[in-house]
């Protein structure tokens, strides 16, 4: 199939909401249109793992009724959205991309999902991802890889590959994903859409099937920056069910993103433009930086000297936390239980052996090793110390600049199978994204040109802690420049 029919830009949220409010289109019609498009293209792209059609049409009918009566409508009234399958949605199967959760139907909504619903969004279904969000290509899903709508032989990125591909192919107007080391930003970059890493604590993690709790974030994918800001506004804010969620007030991100960028100081860290950066990606990002300068930004070359230590630090911290978080999958309360078990111990071991895929086992083993007696100081504690150095380096940098701009990933989308035999090569796909993850800062990735082969390139705009509004502003300026 030609990718021309696959790649399609969703309409803007404000436009669709206005249409629903005025009765020009009903939320029900919108949902049906999206389900028809999903039916046509999902067999090729493998984006949706489960459709929540019954709930979606009920929600759409409720929105239509409110619109007909002239009742006030939520900010996302009637907007068709999709949700990464690591977030729970009451009554709809959740797999986290793993066999171990096959058949599990959560009895509750994740907070981010509940907030989308409360805002009037129509949730179409649950979206494919790497198993337990562990991967950079979506090839670790137990339910088969998602394909990149721009080139079906290439990966959509990961771990939220399905969430990115869904927006790129207009199988949803917006989606939720999660980002632990780059899992929103890298796939958004590979699929040519906008993706947001909110500051740690900005969005509640309640109902997020945990991978690495000190790093996991929930964030939106959209076709444009303003819509991403609108979505983040809806899902942000304090939640009693997540003690790490922040009580800070949530700014009007969409309105903030309208502000210009003249006079803003933009930091360009030398370490993100070194060996390993694809020349075509570099060129596209340099065009983006030039566009920011034309828009009145003051470009400042900076150093982030600890950058090269971020991947090793990340893979120790994340796997250590994962090894603890994934201990809960033991065949007792939910998910897969081995039929071969003869006693309690073999039930645990065989259920996990049969239920987990290779990458998940690899990370559990690495994390367990890093935490085990005799190695704790050398690996886990050392990584936590370097994490502080990395985080403090960013805090220092943001004392001198408003935002930091880098490539989101060192290359455009790579081929299916290209890195599956080499875990380390796969990990390096996250080389520019794990730093912000470790530091807890926020970022937005925005499309910024294409390679000669027509593959999208993404620019990462990093903001300080709770500085999403600033990152949105800068990303808007890049978007306006329409680099192609």
């Amino acid at each position: 199939m030609s990718t021309e029919t696959l790649v399609e830009k969703p309409a803007k949220i404000a436009l669709l909401r206005e249409g629903v409010a005025s009765g020009a289109v009903t939320a029900t019609e919108l949902a049906e249109t999206y389900y028809a498009r999903i039916e046509a293209h999902n067999p090729v792209l493998n984006v949706y793992l489960a459709l929540s059609k019954e709930q979606a049409l009920e929600q759409a009918a409720a929105v239509d009724l409110a619109a007909a009566k002239g009742d006030p409508l939520g900010p996302l009234a009637g907007i068709p959205v999709g949700v990464k399958d690591v977030l729970t949605m009451q009554g709809v199967a959740a797999t986290a991309g793993s066999r171990i959760l096959e058949g599990y139907v959560p009895p509750y909504d994740a907070t981010a999902v509940a907030r989308l619903k409360a805002a009037g969004a129509v949730i179409l279904g649950k979206i494919n991802c790497d198993e337990f969000a562990m991967g950079s290509s979506n090839e670790n899903s137990a339910y088969g890889p998602v394909r990149n709508p721009h080139d079906l032989e290439r990966v959509p990125g990961g771990s939220s590959g399905g969430s990115a591909a869904a927006v790129a192919a207009n199988l949803a107007v917006a989606t939720l994903g999660t980002d632990t080391g780059g899992s929103i930003r890298q796939p958004a970059s590979f699929c040519g859409v906008v993706g947001v890493l909110p500051t740690y604590g900005r969005v509640s993690r309640y109902g997020l099937i945990a991978f690495a709790s000190s790093l996991d974030r929930v964030g939106p994918f959209t076709a444009n920056v303003r819509d991403a800001a609108s979505l983040l506004e809806v899902i942000s804010g304090a939640d009693d069910r997540d003690a790490t969620s922040s009580r800070r007030p949530v700014p009007g991100f969409a309105a903030e993103s309208d502000k210009g960028v003249r006079g803003l100081h933009i930091g360009i860290p030398e370490e993100y433009f070194g060996a390993g950066l694809d020349p075509e990606v570099r060129e596209a990002i340099e065009d983006g930086i030039a566009a920011l300068e034309s828009a009145g930004c003051i470009i400042k070359r900076i150093r982030l000297k600890h950058t090269r230590y971020a991947i090793p630090t990340y893979y120790l911290v994340a796997t250590a936390e994962a090894s603890a978080n994934l201990a809960r999958f033991d065949g007792v309360r939910y998910g897969h239980r081995s039929a071969q078990a003869t006693n309690l111990s073999s039930m645990y071991k065989l259920s996990r052996e049969e239920g987990f895929g290779a990458e998940v086992k690899r990370r559990i083993l690495l994390g367990t090793y890093a935490l085990s007696a005799g190695y704790y100081d050398a690996y886990y504690k050392k990584a936590q110390q370097v994490r502080r150095l990395l985080a403090e380096e960013f805090v220092g940098a943001f004392a001198g600049v408003d935002a930091i701009v880098t490539p989101t990933a060192p290359t455009a989308a790579f081929r299916l199978g290209e890195k599956t035999d080499d875990p380390l090569a796969m990990y390096l796909a996250d080389i520019y994204t794990v730093t912000a993850s470790l530091a807890g800062i926020c970022g937005v990735t925005v499309p910024c040109g294409k390679t000669k082969a027509g593959l999208p390139v993404g620019m990462q705009v990093l903001g300080p802690h709770f500085g999403e509004a600033m990152a949105f502003r800068v990303a808007r300026a890049v978007e306006r420049a329409q680099i192609d």
């Binding site: 007792v332 078990a341 110390q385 802690h465």
Partner: protein, 108 residues
């Protein structure tokens, strides 16, 4: 160098039962990754306090809008409804409706 015996020991700690043919692959991958992360040893971190999560960094300085210190927002300790038991137990591989059933814990 991680040996096959160490792979087996770590798998035991993690309650994973690796198939025989998985072990050499895991050994190879763990060694490659550990060799890569060894570069952290280049950094002198003698006086650096380990950072388990970023909240303490966000609260440092306590400027306007800063979150109060960790634990300042504990919820009120009172009885409140929880998830419906029947719906939760419905997800269990084996249950009598009130308890999760497992194979025997103590074998005689």
């Amino acid at each position: 160098m991680v040996t096959i015996a160490e792979v087996e020991r770590v798998a035991e700690l993690a309650n994973l039962e690796l198939a025989e043919d998985e072990k050499p692959r895991m050994q190879r991958d763990l060694n490659a990754i550990l060799e890569y992360v060894a570069q952290l040893g280049e950094l002198d971190t003698t006086d650096v306090e380990p950072m388990a999560q970023v909240n303490d960094l966000l609260n440092a300085g306590g400027g306007a809008g800063a979150d109060a210190g960790h634990g300042a927002h504990l919820r009120v300790d009172m009885l409140r409804p929880s998830l419906d038991r029947a719906r939760v137990m419905a997800e269990a591989p084996e249950t009598d409706g009130a308890f999760f059933k497992t194979p025997k814990v103590i074998e005689r």
